[in-house]
């Protein structure tokens, strides 16, 4: 599979949130306003891209030679947690403006399963480094698209009169289901 096809599949047809159900928590939790949704989306994309390179390196150059592939889960989550911490410090030092816009969301990314899930699936499929990087960037963009669209939808939903029991998460989930149907239209397009 070429890089282009990997990118489009991960971005649209096999969208991380709407088709693989990963990263639902921030998708539902941080999508109340468009600008916070954008901030979260960019932060996730950033961490995903960098962590995928590190997890690839650690898996292929440390875990496999030593023969402890079963420790993957623990190794990856530690890599992601420490990377998030490091990125936070670097951004704080060098780009205070970026820090004020992304800073709040960075710690939350550690528990975003999309990041770990992408690192895992790249290893499971057996991609090389370039494909892994492409996959994780495209997955990040897919997350950004999904969360941004949902934030726009929720903005409209807030202004409408809906039954009390549907307020909050239930109606958001139903909006997400319609989005998932729309994204399902992309399936089979790029493979």
């Amino acid at each position: 599979m070429g890089v282009i096809s990997i990118i489009f599949t991960a971005m649209l047809a096999d969208n991380i949130v709407l088709s693989q159900f990963q990263g639902i928590c921030p998708f539902l939790g941080v999508s109340k306003k468009s600008d916070t949704a954008l901030g979260m989306g960019f932060a996730v994309m950033f961490v995903m891209a960098i962590s995928s390179i590190f997890t690839y390196m650690v898996y292929h150059y440390i875990l496999i030679p030593v023969g402890i592939e079963y420790m993957r889960t623990m190794a990856f989550i530690l890599i992601i947690a420490s990377l998030v911490q490091m990125i936070e410090m670097v951004i704080k030092k060098y780009s205070p403006t970026l820090y004020t816009s992304l800073g709040v969301y960075l710690p939350l990314i550690t528990t975003n399963c999309a990041v770990l899930g992408t690192a895992n699936s790249a290893i499971d499929i057996g991609y090389n480094l370039i494909n892994t990087f492409a996959l994780s960037i495209a997955t990040g963009v897919g997350f950004l698209i999904a969360i941004f669209i949902l934030s726009g939808l929720r903005d409209k939903i807030d202004k409408t009169d809906i039954p009390k029991c549907f307020k909050g998460f239930p109606i958001t989930l139903i909006a997400a289901s319609i989005m998932a149907l729309a994204f399902a239209g992309f399936s089979g397009m790029f493979s």
Partner: protein, 206 residues
Amino acid sequence: METLRDKDTFLNGLIKSNPDFVLVLGMCPTLAMSTNLLQGFAMGIATTFVLIFSNIFISMLRKVIPDKIRIPCFIIIISTFVIIVELVMRKYFPDLYSTMKAFISLIVVNCIILARAESFASCNKVKDSAIDGFSMGLGFTLSLSALGFIRELITSGTVLGLSIFNNFPQMLGTSSKAMGFIVLGLSMAAFNQIRIKNSKKKAGVK
């Protein structure tokens, strides 16, 4: 008195703060693994196991773990149990493992476990934490199984693989994914409705 409190802790996780419908934590495995009853139940049991033992260990070590690096410490403890689950499932349930593989290792980042570790186990006794882990896990298992039952019935007309309706039109893979969101949304709304009614009833009595 003591047993009454235990019962309270227990019921708390099951209904009053059910992880799926009230706290809305751990949505990713909820949506991804409730495609059928068996998968939902297995995922619930795996999560319950991790939840109970991570709660017990975190509660035991709560005075040793320094406050500043508590999150990484919690994550290491949790991931240890996730690896145990992974290895056990790969050995004894290879079929189930191969379909659930991606989400078993994602138990590590399941928000329920970290949330219970942070808000309950890190400031309560070992016994209470174990009960809390058990009840939260049971609440999670029950809601996953219920969702799995509904979704399996709707999308393929079967229960635990046995067909209930004859000539049931199979739903395509993509739309059965959208079905997950709809079923969860509707059942959450139903849960909310019951809660609203109950609170109204209580207010009326007063």
